[in-house]
């Protein structure tokens, strides 16, 4: 059994317990409204988590995501405030700046040989200084038609969540079917062995950092569309740096790199979203939510590490897999 299926078993257990708890309050967990809440909760963290998975797989870390999210929400909201064609310009500009931050992260990690923790913390602080100096509060405004993207839903599933899952599918394709994806796993597993095997060890790390910042940028744009404005604190308030790392490890990806899957992360994100929604529904003390989250993270990873110490990754899977 792979750790991804373990994640989904855990998700199933959490949903069952949650549904019972919510049911005891006389409410229906599976009502359209509640499911939509859960899925909405998944979209932003899912986007950040997808990027964080790539970075962690390549044995790095990204602590700059909350600042990239805030920056991107501001750039998007300010550019598209005039409406019309400026919407597309705003999205493109926000993504360009995000990608540039990712490129800097990747270059600092690979060329200057700074540990990912320090590199992305430093870059995050640089952006934070800029944001705090330039903006006193929320800025820009998002036109109605773009706000629609953040709130639209097909049945119980918001469009933004569908977009997030589509991105996850694309990253799944990248990781399993392309050369770059295999290189990300290889470099994350062992940079030294990869180098001796003739890989350029920097480019997979740089690519994963750029993709991570891009997905954080997308998350920022999505938040701008939901809030209607850009905000310099939208990323930090959500604590998305540590929360996204937590979602990735709860999803079964090893922090030491080279082992994990994107669907595991989506499962981890779903676990957090369900927990959040259930705890709100049963009016659990909001401060104690953090306690539960903390325990879930540690227990989940303790269970995975118990198994993964005995099983090894299949080196030569059968054909057709």
């Amino acid at each position: 059994m792979s750790s991804t299926s373990l994640v989904y078993i855990a998700l199933f257990v959490v949903v069952v317990i949650g549904a019972i708890l919510v049911g005891a309050e006389g409410r229906n967990f599976f009502s359209t409204g509640n499911l939509r809440d859960v899925f909405t909760g998944m979209s932003v963290l899912g986007l950040v988590g997808i990027g964080q998975t790539l970075v962690i797989l390549s044995r790095s870390l990204d602590l700059s995501v909350p600042y990239v999210m805030s920056l991107s929400s501001l750039i998007a909201a300010q550019t598209m405030s005039s409406g019309g064609a400026s919407i597309a310009v705003g999205v493109v500009l926000a993504l360009l700046f995000s990608a540039a931050v990712g490129l800097v992260n990747g270059l600092v990690v690979t060329k200057l040989r700074v540990h990912g923790f320090i590199a992305t913390l430093g870059v995050g602080l640089i952006i934070k200084g800029y944001l705090d100096t330039t903006y006193k509060g929320s800025a820009g405004s998002v036109p109605k038609e773009f706000q629609f993207i953040g709130s639209a839903a097909i049945g119980a599933v918001p469009v933004s969540t569908i977009g997030m899952l589509a991105l996850a599918a694309a990253v799944y394709f990248l990781l399993t079917k392309t050369r770059t994806g295999h290189h990300i796993y290889a470099v994350g597993g062992s940079a030294e062995v990869s180098r001796l095997s003739g890989l350029r060890t920097s480019s997979p790390v740089i690519i994963s950092h750029v993709l991570c910042s891009l997905s954080a940028g997308l998350a920022g744009i999505l938040l701008a569309s939901r809030l209607g404005v850009g905000s310099p604190t939208v990323g930090t308030q959500g604590g998305y740096d540590l929360l996204s790392i937590a979602a990735v490890v709860v999803g079964g990806t090893l922090l030491s790199g080279g082992h994990g899957s994107i669907w595991g992360t989506i499962g981890g994100v779903a676990i957090f979203a369900v927990l959040d929604s259930v705890m709100s529904a049963i009016q659990f003390n909001p401060f104690l939510k953090d306690v539960v989250r903390g325990l879930v993270i540690v227990v989940a990873v303790a269970i995975y590490s118990r198994r993964s110490s005995e099983t090894k990754r299949v080196r030569f899977p059968e054909k057709g897999k």
Partner: protein
């Protein structure tokens, strides 16, 4: 007697000079430059009474950084220290109250809490094999959630002045300095303890574990217990920092927020390599002072406070990049003159550097 002291002083001066010139200990040079800049911008700062105030302000962070050093050097992280400071501050604020006689029992309780937190961090990460980043992140969420739950997120309680004076008071009429803050004395004691411990077999084993836990396991070291002790040192240092912070920061659950990142940053500035196996506790101490001196310079230079984070970001990246690149240079030279080692070329890990370049101790 006098001569002996002078002699050893001379030796330590020689050693200090050697350390400053060493590119791997660039932090000492940076610290001296920063202090010189402060003296230049504000000559009053050089007065002993002013300077000791600066040391007093740095003391909590410096102690925390030295505690974090032991965890970092063994290849682990401790993200729970900031939350633990909040817990300790709130415990002191609510349990001591205005009754000074409770100070000692509550102090004992606080150290006990600290040791338990460190023990849990250490045992879960070493025995259950959960990465310490995850364990201590979980611990941070649990502690913070708990402390906000108890206090409701607002300031509460106010410990007796006698207890607060540990952080803000001092010995009056002290020669040269006028007022010798307790915090500085605590810092000196902690520094002596930390540097003693790091030269003991425990400290050496810890660094060796950070370099390669497997060889240490096969050499008979109790890796799990050594690492657990490191976590207990770190959470004890957070406890001491919390006691000092009660003195001037007051009782609020947000005290200590972000301190885990500041401590890790300071240690890394001081030459500690994330991933373990390299570092010097006095370097970590200097890192903490460098970071605070940097903030002071920015303050005196009228840099808007909002830009401080950016400058801090640039400095930590530059410092780590500088030491990484210069370490690489040293290693390259070493490999060329000695036997050419296959596979020692472009690896970014500090571990391979350890093999060929001489360690500072």
């Amino acid at each position: 007697m006098m001569r002996e002291i002078r002699n050893s002083a001379g030796k330590s001066v020689a050693r200090s000079v050697a350390v400053i010139v060493d590119p791997r200990q660039a932090v000492f040079l940076v610290l001296i430059l920063l202090l010189a800049t402060i003296f230049f911008l504000n000559p009053g700062f050089a007065e002993p009474s002013q300077f000791i105030r600066f040391v007093q302000r740095v003391a909590p962070i410096a102690i925390l950084t030295m505690g974090q050093f032991f965890v970092l050097v063994s290849g682990e992280f401790d993200l729970s220290v900031g939350a633990l400071i909040a817990v300790q501050v709130v415990v002191a604020g609510n349990l001591i109250g205005q009754d000074e006689s409770k100070s000692i029992p509550v102090l004992i309780l606080m150290f006990f809490i600290g040791l338990v937190v460190g023990l849990v961090n250490g045992l879960v990460s070493s025995l259950l094999r959960v990465p310490s980043f995850v364990v201590t992140l979980g611990m941070m969420l649990v502690l913070l959630g708990g402390v906000y739950f108890v206090t409701g997120g607002s300031a509460s309680g106010n410990p007796a002045d006698g207890f607060r004076s540990i952080g803000r008071g001092g010995i009056e009429g002290f020669p040269i300095f006028g007022l010798m803050p307790w915090a500085v004395i605590v810092l000196i004691v902690c520094t002596l303890l930390a540097s003693y411990v790091s030269t003991r077999p425990f400290g050496k084993t810890l660094i060796a574990i950070g370099d390669n836990p497997e060889t240490q396991f096969y050499s008979g070291a109790r890796v799990w217990w050594t690492k657990t002790q490191a976590f207990m040192i770190s959470s004890t240092s957070a406890t001491v920092a919390g006691i000092l912070l009660v003195g001037y920061a007051g009782v609020h659950p947000s005290v200590g927020r972000g301190y885990e990142f500041i401590a890790i940053t300071a240690a890394v500035l001081g030459g500690v390599v994330l991933g373990g196996g390299r570092g010097w506790v006095l370097g970590a101490l200097a890192g903490a002072f460098t970071l605070e001196a940097l903030f002071t310079v920015l303050n005196f230079a009228d840099v808007p406070s909002t830009w401080r984070d950016s400058v801090q970001g640039i400095i930590i990246i530059a410092a780590v990049a500088y030491s990484a690149v210069s370490r690489n240079g040293i290693r390259r030279k070493g490999t060329n003159s000695a036997s050419p080692e296959i596979g020692e070329g472009a690896s970014a890990s500090g571990r391979s550097a350890q093999n060929t370049s001489p360690s500072h101790d």
